[in-house]
């Protein structure tokens, strides 16, 4: 069968992927630069295509709590927003993580802090990978760098979320959300039936039948000892995720002397910079983390033994660089280059920064 190809915006790809992944519910609130997710869903009438529920909530606060309610029932549910909206959702995300609920949150990042700008940025790295809300918790964080990955990662994220009973986040940015690229679409996965959900998620609040105990979903435990045990269990889970789920891509790293580390849009800019570098005879490769939590610590550590220096390229003041430095353990030089306020660095600027900060510095 011929592949189904479409030219889509990153935001539209997320929406179409959600329908095709058998998502049960989407709850959201408009915000630039990701409003197309809900607009696309509303135009597609997924309630007719698959029975998927799509609802415009009155706020992001409501959206994430709708997600919480749906996730408690073992449903495949999601929301999407951009930075200010994701900040509002932090309370709910912390509750989802505490109650060990699977769900997908898509953040199409714009520049901050505050109302900031609607242009692309990567300044929510800390928020996404270090918890974001209160308490000790982690989100599985995937960073797409193309529209195809925006599409693919919806299914990947749902699978990981259910595998580990943990919220997953797609951390994208305004550029990938707004740009169009060719997308290869997959066939429709049917939504799970009630019976399938009961089997897959025996913990879900699907109605107490005589054959099982009551299912209670809560993130509250007033007994410190039990609460600590719960926390230890969470930590154990994050360890397992770290061991098993690291994803990354390397380009021209084999005989490189220097490495760019970059994710998302920045990685795309670096790809072009690699081309420019080659013309100048500079041996530089690109290491692209795809999971930001779990971060590819071991892979970067191993690479550090073979190269002279790393330049972290981020559309922020330098957040991921802290994780790179921890991985490198001071063995080689690690510097940051980036832009803020919604500005995307140019490939030339990136290459210049490499020459000045790493090669020459």
């Amino acid at each position: 069968m011929a592949k189904e190809l479409r030219l889509m915006k990153g935001n539209e790809a997320v929406a179409e992927a959600a329908i095709r992944a058998g998502c049960d519910g989407y709850f959201g609130y408009p915000i630039t630069p990701q409003s197309e997710v809900m607009e696309y869903l509303m135009a597609e009438k997924p309630h007719e295509r698959t029975g998927m529920v799509v609802l415009q909530a009155e706020s992001e606060l409501a959206s994430i709590n709708m997600v919480y309610g749906g996730a408690c029932c073992g449903k495949k549910v999601m929301t999407s927003s951009s930075s200010p909206g994701i900040s509002l959702m932090q309370e709910g995300i912390s509750y989802l993580a505490g109650a060990e609920l699977p769900c997908l949150v898509v953040n199409v990042v714009r520049g901050g802090p505050g109302l900031g700008t609607i242009q692309p940025s990567q300044s929510d790295y800390f928020q996404a990978t270090k918890g974001g809300g209160h308490g000790d918790y982690k989100l599985i964080t995937l960073a797409p760098s193309s529209v195809q990955e925006m599409y693919d990662f919806v299914k990947v994220a749902f699978n990981l979320a259910f595998k580990y009973q943990n919220p997953a986040m797609i951390l994208s940015d305004g550029a990938i959300g707004q740009m169009m690229e060719k997308v290869v679409l997959e066939d429709q996965i049917p939504r799970l039936t009630e019976t399938e959900i009961i089997k897959k998620c025996p913990w879900a609040t699907t109605g107490k039948t005589p054959d099982r105990e009551r299912n209670i979903i809560t993130s509250l435990d007033l007994d410190p000892a039990r609460q600590e045990r719960h926390n230890l269990k969470l930590q154990e889970k994050y360890k397992k995720i770290t061991e098993n789920e690291v994803r990354y891509e390397t380009i021209d790293c084999e005989d490189a002397e220097y490495i760019f580390v970059a994710y998302g849009t920045s990685a795309r800019i670096c790809l072009k910079a690699l081309q420019l570098a080659k013309e100048k005879g500079i041996k530089v490769g690109l290491f692209r983390p795809i999971t930001l939590f779990p971060f590819p610590v071991n892979q970067i550590k191993e690479m550090a033994g073979k190269i002279k220096g790393i330049l972290s390229i981020e559309m922020s003041a330098g957040q991921m660089i802290e994780d790179i430095k921890l991985a490198v353990e001071g063995k080689i030089k690690v510097e940051h280059y980036g832009k803020m306020g919604g500005i995307i660095p140019s490939p030339n600027e990136v290459l210049e920064a490499l020459e000045q900060k790493i090669i020459g510095g």
Partner: protein, 183 residues
Amino acid sequence: MTEEIIIAGFGGQGVLSMGKILAYSGIMQDQEVSWMPSYGPEMRGGTANVTVILSDNRINSPILTQYDTAIILNQQSMDKFEPEVKPGGLLLYDPNGIIRPPERKDINIYKIEASKEASNLGLPKIFNMIVLGGYIKIKPIVKLDNVMLGLKKSLPPRYHHMIPDNEKAIKRGLEIVEDVQKV
């Protein structure tokens, strides 16, 4: 083959949809494509632009500062993007509303009287398709057949009745584009 294009003009001139049709045409001939617009309310009545890349290989940066081709539809865009055409590259413009024509000596320059032609034809809305026709005449990187397929793909079915006019405009563009300077 990789072709990096900027299309720039006023919001409402059909800049984004021209880029979309071009990108879809690339898909029709099995190429990789990207389409990166300027976005947000700053576009209200202001300038709009889109970067379109067609390539036989994986596309690296969707955002560029140098272009193989610049398609320019207003003066602000001329001021901004003329300097960003690669030496030996192409600049195609509609002289309508341009008070300072391009001055560079190291690029190929073409012009197309698309808005004039569109109003002559009584079809002001398909002005952008005339420009597109002019572009593929100069740089036949996408086959005319694939452009027609791309056009059909990128228009929602409720607009399919407009396809014949669009086709006519593209073909008219092929005829009326003029060269100004070749290097």
